[in-house]
Amino acid sequence: MRADLIALLPELMLATLAMAVLLAGLASGKARHGLLGAGAVLALAATGVTLWLAAGATDPGAHFFSGMFVLDHFAIFFKALFLLTAALVVLLSHDYLKRNDYRPGEYLALVMFATVGMMTMASGVNLAVIYVGLELMALSTYILAGYFRREVKSHEAAAKYFVLGAMSSGILLYGLSLIYGATGTLDLATLARVLASAKPGPSALVGVALLACGFLFKVAAVPFHVWTPDVYEGAPTPITAFMSVGPKAAAFAMFLRVFIGGLAPLAASWIWLVGVAAALTMIWGNVAALTQDNVKRMLAYSSIAHAGYALVGLVAGGPAGVNSVLFYMLVYTVTNIGAFGFVILLESRGYAGETVADYAGLARRHPAAAFGMLLFMLSLGGIPPTAGFMGKLYLFAAAVNAGYVWLVVVAVLMSAVSLYYYLRIVLQMYLREGDGAEPATLVAAPWTERVIWACGVAVLVIGLLPAPFLAAARAMAGAVGLL
């Protein structure tokens, strides 16, 4: 029991501290942005330290809570990534909430609760545990998407997200129950054994298909991506940043854990399903992004496309494939948060500064921030020496080595297409003169700028010196294949 609690300590700690932040937010009369923000960041940092201590105190191969929960290297990698994501989002939100005059208490607590859910997803080796984590994350994000209650678009986003999310949960649960009915277990290791020993019946196959659909919904893959553009556009921008990296990475964690782990014996059946979804996602996401004039919407389609790239690594499978997905999640997280940070920086009031034309001439007036955005755009497009290049390189190399050349051909062609809309922003910033009366009057946003700086440095460092990060991802990826 004691060992169980130690393994769960990071989640327990973060949940407790989230409640403390919630209460503190309610107790403080007027909105204490600085205090609560600092509290949230400290809570996330403390959880990180706890995670480190808990990881040291437990055996990475051990199972806890009757075999439902693990704290292996794979889980540790993702948890650390989630904590980093949450901390960056909290920092991005600071100036934004203050400027738009929304109370920070509940907001920050919800971000932290969502993080607890994500962490649970990464550790669960039982489908029920994973589902509980998934719902905790999803419910928190539904509310966060609608947090700006004075904005109609924010309402709309929350409502759409909730309705479609509930539907996908239904599909996912139906899949789970079919699998349980066919095999009699929700434990991933047992599931793998049972599926390997006998030829699976139709109910198990339908279960797997529906499970895949539920997961593809969470990573926003075609054709289950339809909610993404509307929700990303309507949600408060820091939450969009959060949704585009945190829950997506969490969904990939469970995708890897369940499909590469528990459902590996059925790989022959699902691999084509996922492969085709990956190809469709890359094509649809990139092509649709071409015609967007709203930067948030463009980034929404871009994040759909990136889910497609990461699915390529999942299809490749094996240690190299899993390793490349982990590395890509890290790369994508710092890049995308940086890019959204820049959008936030430009949104001076309400929803101004969102269209591509607003970016004209920014390089001249804000050289440092524009340079950061240049790096993020190059990284998303996969141009060296940025992190995005290395991320794509390892993803595609894994897929080629696994024999999925056709998928990589699609991915590379679509990467070329994506350069059009990424470089359009660069073009506006660097080569177009702004007309005198600029709507994008920037107000001071020191923390947003710091996040952009940090992400910019990370994009360059990972791009130039990928080896240590790759080694970390490689060490962490080892656990997933052998549950």
Partner: protein, 649 residues
């Protein structure tokens, strides 16, 4: 201290980054503190490292800085290697580099703050790249440095980029170097394919273990590496960029285009001597290119009137000597000449800079003369360095040049690799080049410093000695030009006693290829006396032609008697014109065709068409994104049904 080897390239890099980051804001004082300070700290670090290294009997120290690339079987570490060869290079690169940084304070002081900061940023960046090149423990790290120095060379040649010929010279240097770099790259790929590693130690071990296995690959790899060296070290036929590179500020000419970067090719050949010594063909090619370049460039130097151009052709010629040495198996001898040449050629260039500075920017020697009285420090240091370059004992150049000619003669007489006759011819060329060198250098001395001033009285009035930041570097380098030769006194000079510290220090990493029958002591003495006599003859001839009452009369008569020959030499044998006709213009035509024909019509057309259809597809997808949540739900449902159906069927 050896664990801090990474500091050596890191310090100038930090300086460069700080200056680039602050380039818009820093005043001259801050720039000087950062730019010269980082070069000084580098020199201090190198001094500390070398003091410690001196006690280690020349063993190889490898320091792994970080694992840089690892993909499949390819692993490239950012690793540094300190051995006698890189130690020698480190010593003079940092010393001469620092001295030239100091000199630049005075030379560049008339520039604006921003240009001044830009200059020192590039100079620091160059130091970083050069030190990376020297310390790299494998071909890839060396190549980073190699490209880095090329970039800095380009940036600094085109430093006055608002002048068209400067920008053009920068581009020329860059493009010509690309040709060489391409060869170098192919060599790296080939080496990796054959040896499975690009690490110097790893390749040497593999070759030592089983030379027969790699016999077929050794010659092509060596030749491709040499193509790289030809580009970087300005040898025939790719030397054309170096004379034009004199468009850069004079400290740059001294540092990059005389003392350090251009010797990188020699360094690389010597670094890879374990490959070259297995390929007699490659050795002969290296020697032949070097020997022919030495005499070819020396003849062009005879008729140049721009003081920096004379020195530039002299550099090309001296680099030829270095390759001649390497090709004759005298790897340590080649490096020794690199070492001494760094001192006296840097001194000459800085002296030329001081002269130009004194004459308010005048570079044409026909409008100089008699400057010795007005700028004595410049004159005397220039004189010492000239004597060193001419090979007059006991100045540094005498020992290194004599070593080279002696070794080449020995290779000829001892029939090295069965190419004895060829080496004897190359020796004769080298000897003739020594004569020409002495002649054109003293021609420059007489035209610049002696006789009557031939410029305007106003210019004469302005002639002044340079400030201390410029004369002290001259004095230091002149002292070096006079003394450093004593580090490598040939055994014949000491009648068989081995006092050649330089060669024995390098013996572990670059042992000289010994011929079976070394020439007798008497023969060697004859050779030494011959080379000194040849140099003296050149000096005396220059004195007859260019000083006294009859100055310029004799060369004038000769030019009139053989106008075609004179025109050919003065116009550098029309090589630039021939390249323009044979390479540049056809390439220009091809480029124009690619642009107008292929690019605009074929590629752009295809691209625009596909972009058009992609955009239509994007609009279609946009149409599907109705914003209506019922439609979205239908979408999800259809997807789920399709997925389930797929797995079932």
């Amino acid at each position: 201290m050896l664990d801090l080897l990474w500091l050596v390239p890191a310090l100038p890099l930090a300086g460069a980054l700080a200056l680039l980051a602050g380039a818009l804001r820093f005043g001259k004082r801050t720039t000087t503190a950062i730019g010269v300070g980082s070069a000084g700290l580098t020199l201090a670090a190198v001094a500390a490292i070398l003091v410690q290294y001196a006690g280690m009997h020349g063993e190889t120290v490898a320091r792994h800085v970080f694992n840089w690339i690892s993909a499949g079987d390819v692993t490239v570490d950012f690793a540094l290697r300190l051995d006698p060869l890189s130690a020698v290079m480190l010593s003079f690169v940092t010393l001469v580099g620092f001295v030239i940084h100091v000199y630049s304070i005075g030379y560049m002081h008339t520039e604006g703050d921003r240009a001044y900061a830009r200059f020192f940023a590039y100079l620091n960046l160059f130091m970083f790249a050069m030190l990376t090149l020297v310390l790299g423990a494998n071909l890839v790290v060396m190549f980073i440095g190699w490209e880095g120095v090329g970039l800095c060379s380009y940036l600094l040649i085109g430093f006055y980029f608002d002048k068209e010929y400067c920008a053009a010279a920068g581009i020329k240097a860059f493009v010509v170097n690309r040709i060489g770099d391409f060869g170098f790259l192919l060599a790296i790929f080939w080496a990796f394919k054959v040896f499975g590693t690009v690490d110097f130690a790893g390749m040497a071990t593999a070759l030592a273990a089983d030379p027969g296995r790699y016999a077929a690959a050794v010659t092509p790899i060596a030749l491709l590496l040499f193509v790289g060296a030809i580009g970087k070290s300005a040898q025939l036929p790719l030397y054309v960029w170096l004379p034009d590179a004199m468009a850069g500020p004079t400290p740059v000419s001294a540092l990059i285009h005389a003392a350090t970067m251009v010797t990188a090719g020699v360094y690389m050949v010597v670094r890879c001597n374990f490959i070259y010594r297995l390929s007699p063909t490659a050795m002969l090619v290296v020697a032949a290119v070097g020997g022919v370049t030495a005499i070819f460039a020396a003849t062009i130097g005879l008729a140049q009137n721009d003081i920096k151009k004379v020195l530039a052709y002299s550099t090309v010629s001296q680099l030829g000597y270095m390759f001649l040495a390497a090709g004759a198996g005298a790897f340590a001898g080649g490096i020794f000449h690199v070492f001494t040449h760094a001192f006296f050629k840097a001194c000459l260039f800085l002296g030329a800079g001081s002269v130009i500075h004194a004459c308010s920017g005048e570079q044409d020697m026909r409008r100089m003369g008699g400057l010795a009285k007005k700028i004595p420090v410049t004159y005397w240091t220039f004189m010492v360095a000239t004597l060193a370059l001419c090979g007059i004992p006991p100045f540094a150049g005498f020992f290194s040049k004599d070593e080279i000619l002696g070794r080449v003669f020995a290779a000829g007489a001892g029939n090295l690799n069965g190419f004895g006759a060829s080496y004897l011819v190359l020796w004769a060329l080298g000897l003739a080049a020594a004569f020409l060198t002495a002649f054109y250098m003293f021609r420059a001395v007489y035209m610049t410093f002696h006789g009557e001033f031939r410029g305007t009285p106003e210019q004469w009035h302005h002639v002044h000695e340079s400030p201390g930041t410029m004369t002290w570097p001259l004095k230091i380098l002149a002292a070096g030009s006079a003394l450093v030769g004593l580090l490598g006194v040939g055994t014949a000079i000491t009648f068989g006693t081995d006092l050649n510290w330089f060669e024995s220090f390098l013996h572990r990493v670059a042992p000289t290829v010994e011929v079976e029958h070394a020439p007798a002591l008497a023969t060697e003495w004859v050779l030494i006396l011959l080379s000194v006599a040849v140099a003296l003859a050149g000096i005396l001839l220059a004195r007859r032609f260019y000083s006294g009452a009859e100055a310029f009369a004799a060369p004038q008569r000769m030019a009139e008697r053989a106008p075609a020959v004179y025109a050919a030499v003065a116009n550098k044998y029309y090589v630039d014109e021939a390249y323009d006709r044979a390479v540049v213009r056809p390439l220009g035509k091809l480029a124009r065709f690619s642009w107008k024909g292929i690019d605009t019509i074929a590629i752009d057309g295809t691209l625009n068409a596909s972009a058009f259809f992609t955009e239509i597809a994007g609009d279609l997808l946009r149409f599907l994104q109705t914003g209506n949540v019922r439609n979205y739900a239908l979408f999800v449902l259809c997807g789920a049904l399709a997925a389930a159906a797929w797995l079932l069927l």
